[in-house]
Symmetry: C3
Subunit: 133 residues, 3 copies
């Protein structure tokens, strides 16, 4: 297992980590298999979505905040980040990506994002590569 | 990795792809392991839910549209499908399914669906089979 | 594949199953790899979030109920649990967790939960362990 570090800049944002994951795959030498990603945090997750137009990532972060606002009188968790925990369970802390011919098998428009919901912070993502067969 | 193609018929719908995945598993000959599924798109995902009563799939698609409407004045992405991108990050583009005795290890009521959020389109799903042990 | 059983106590709750998963990993003897978890149900899922403060799990269950209420005149599924199905597709029925040095590689605050959305019931979770390399 390798661990990559990501510095986020805002409370809520999607940070493109595709190149970092691709580097781990290249180092592993695996041609065909999968990359298991895992965020070691409870207020940020992993998602894959469009990377070409940054407005897509912005719209995702905005809509999640619209659905799950920071303040709710019914929240009991005293740290003021219940919204971040809820969003993490919806987006998920992990993802399993396919590897084909030594590279991430992503669609034309897909990028891998760390979805920060309680930044800015330094985040750690574990990457476990598994060979096919 | 095998790739299966799915033709969707509506903008938003859940299409049962259980039999297609089962065929890939049978061809692989793997008895015990997992099947990693991956949608190569940013506006459709993979989900597993009840297949017996089609109203369940309909209710899921309806409720997602109710929570995440197509039109929001705050959306910035100009293509008019920000809702499809948000839904895809919530439902997820991939899934890892268990294989037991050469078949998908699903519960009695579980079916595998491609969750279309911006159709109708032809969609591609990658399937990577991994042997246990 | 091993199957663990979980008795839930309420209609909606997050039940910590971290210790049960850890036991399966210990029995497998795998030092480096992944644990694939799968709920064989369409109205409960698997999620990973904060286990230290029980208010986090409570806030997640509450907020999901707030977003996806039990009663909606537009629901068609006649069993009265369409909300449970929708929540399951959002939280996901499965998760792939990393194993490092023979133990679950979780962050300091992470616990593994069965997310019950239509209990109380006895639930079954499949666990497939895969060695790295």
């Amino acid at each position: 297992m390798e661990t990559i570090k990501v510095q986020t800049a805002r409370r809520e944002e999607l940070v493109d980590i595709t190149a970092l994951i691709q580097e781990v795959i290249l180092r592993s030498g695996v041609q065909e298999g999968v990359a298991h990603l895992w965020s070691f945090h409870t207020t940020c997750g992993i998602t894959v979505n469009e990377g070409a137009d940054p407005d897509v990532a912005r719209d995702i972060a905005w809509k999640l905040g619209d659905l799950i606002p920071r303040e709710e009188t019914a929240y009991r968790h005293a740290e003021g980040n219940s919204d971040s925990h809820v969003k993490t369970s919806l987006v998920n802390p992990g993802a399993t990506l396919l590897i084909n011919s030594g590279e991430l098998a992503l669609g034309t428009w897909q990028s891998v994002f760390l979805a920060e919901f309680d930044g800015p912070r330094v985040r750690k993502v574990g990457v476990q590569i598994a060979k096919a067969g």
